[in-house]
Structures are given as C-alpha cells and as structure tokens.
Symmetry: C2
Subunit: 183 residues, 2 copies
Amino acid sequence: MAAGAPQASRESELLHEVADAVGGLMEFWGFKRIMGRIWSLLYLRGEPLSAAELCQELAISTGAASMTLTELEHWGVVRRLRPPGNRREYFEAETDIWRMVSRVLRERELTQIERALEVFDRVRDQLVRSASPSEKSRLDDVAERIGRLADLARMGRGLLSAAVAQGKIDLSPLMRFARPRKA
Amino acid sequence: MAAGAPQASRESELLHEVADAVGGLMEFWGFKRIMGRIWSLLYLRGEPLSAAELCQELAISTGAASMTLTELEHWGVVRRLRPPGNRREYFEAETDIWRMVSRVLRERELTQIERALEVFDRVRDQLVRSASPSEKSRLDDVAERIGRLADLARMGRGLLSAAVAQGKIDLSPLMRFARPRKA
DNA sequence: TAGAGATTTCACAAGTTTTTGAAACTTCTG
DNA sequence: CAGAAGTTTCAAAAACTTGTGAAATCTCTA
C-alpha cells in the first residue's frame, strides 16, 4: 500500500478506535457506551451528521440513535440542528469539553452525594438523640464514624461544587499535566 | 415508645440506612452495591464480624458473602482476620477512608485513563504520519481534535496521580468543606 | 487421619440493562 | 391535503450482571 494514502476505510477505522476508547471511558463513568461513541464520532468529524449517517456508520438501529441523541442533547453534549427547508435533522458535538464535564458533575455526581449526605446526617442525629444513658458512649462512637463518612462526602461535594462554580476550575494550573502543544 | 431507648432493632435499622446509602454511592461509582453494604456494616459496627453474621444481617447467600469479601480484601477495603485456634474467619473494615479511595483511584481510574490515552496518542500519530499531501490539512484538523481529548485525559491523569502520590492530597485545604467537628 | 466445621467454587436462576425494528406519529412538499 | 421523508415510541429479544445454594475443597482438632 502506498505510504501516504490513508484510504477512507483506514481513516474511519482509526476514528472508530478513538470513538470506542471514549465509549469505554464513558461507560466506565456510568454512561452508556453508545453515548460516548456517538459524541466522539461527531466530535472527530467536526461537521454535523444526520441520524441516518450515524446509524450507518456505527451500525446501530434507528431507535437507538434517536433515543441516545435525545439523551445526549439533554446532557448538552450534542446540539440538534434543524436546517430550515430540510426535513432532516443534523447533529453536532459540543466541543467545549469542560462545559460538558461540569454539567455532568453538577447534575449527576452532586445530586448523588447530596442524597447520601442527607442520610448520614439524619441517622447520626437520630442515633445521638435517642441514646439511653447506658448506650450513650457506644452510640457516640458509631455517630463519630458516621460523622467521618459525612465529612468525606462533604469534602467531595465541596471539591465538585468549587470546580463547577468556577466554570473552569482554573484549568491553567492543571494544564501543566497536559502534553506541550506546538501551536 | 420511651424516648431514650433505641431498641436494638431500631438501631440496626438506622445502620442499614447508612449501609444502603453507601451501597448506592458505590454502585453509582461502578462497584457492586453489596460491596458498599458489607463495608459499611463492618465500618459502623467497629468490630470484626464473621461471614456468617454478615450473611444473616444483610440477608445474602454464603456464596455472595465469600466472593464479595474476597473482592473487598483485594481492594484493601476489608481485612481478614484468622484468629489462631479458631477455624472461623472474621472481617473488619479498613477505617482509613482516604487510603481506600486513593487505592481505588490508582488501580481503577488511572488504568482506565491510561488505556484511552494510549489509543488517542497512537491514532493521532498514525493519522498525521500517513496523510497524503492532499489530505494533510483536513487530517491535521482531526489530529488537533484528538489532541484535545488527549489533553483532557492527561489532565485527569495528572490530577488523580498527584492526589494519589501525595498520599493524602493535602487534605487540610480541602477540609474547609467539612462540617466543623467538636472534638 | 477421620470428620466436623468453615470457606470457596460454579452452573444456573433471577434480575437488569441495552438494542432492535416495526408501527405510530410528525413535518414538509407538490 | 395526500403522501413521501424523517423521527419517535415501545414491546419484546438479546446480552449482560448479580445472587443462589449445593457440592467440592480446605483446615483444624481429637
């Protein structure tokens, strides 16, 4: 094969590798694999694609495409374009990756932590309140341990909400971990 | 009911609420719910329990208990005690929560990111190398986008490994999010 | 070293999540 | 407004995950 000619098929094979890697990461973080694959493909192509093209390219059913795209849109990770005078819709990837991440953190992880925290605090309180004198010292001990769990949760919540609030969590200092970029 | 007498049943009901909350969090983070329930129960009780007691208390089968405890031990989240002259084993919770978290971060999240990063970098490289002159500028564009993904991954990796390396990620500055504690 | 007590393994059952595709629906055009 | 093109819905199939419990294995003690 000629050295300098990555046939279309070779190129799309490579793009799929990336899409699958992102799919894997997202699945690991509790999303559907297919969400990651769709977003990546849109992101890498850099131009809007129709649902039909995505079905074709990723070998998924129309139903899956429709449902997943709606979900991605709801997460603000993909935008739906309805060109006037064209009954076909197109989709493009949100490219501000931090915006995506922070939205997810806010809506998913924070709620989850909040929920656990409520339980921790309420139970701790009830244990201490209702302790009979003879049980007091043992129950205080348990309460202390619950308190530690709650502290960890609060710490996580604090980190996440600080990150989210700052909009970009001051990416610059973190960027020292990034690969030096030419441009 | 008398105000100051939390019967055993009431207490264990409360502890189960906490155990379930932790179970929920852990499930959310990609572990089995039962792992969180077992760890929490051990943690809250503060004393070693036998597998049989856990089966009883959490209403799970011996098989599930055995497998899950092995897994928890492997994660360094639970310790197995084999009192000499007693053929029954006991289990106790690791109580250094940060140690647990950092171990998980290191073994799970870091590996996952590393894996994706390899794909990103390799594909980017191959795309650029094999570009024919006519394709060059378009492919450079794609490569640039892959580069951004890789940067994000590197940033995540940097954050996690810095946290893990410092052993305690300098918990103090983060602790301002924690609930003020009396003691 | 026999065997009682304890733990592990594993094939299978139960439960859950994901995907499919055909039918219903919506929207544009002639 | 009929019908073609496109999208959504949803019930059921497939794939995957988790829990069960009886049999196999291990390990103390007498």
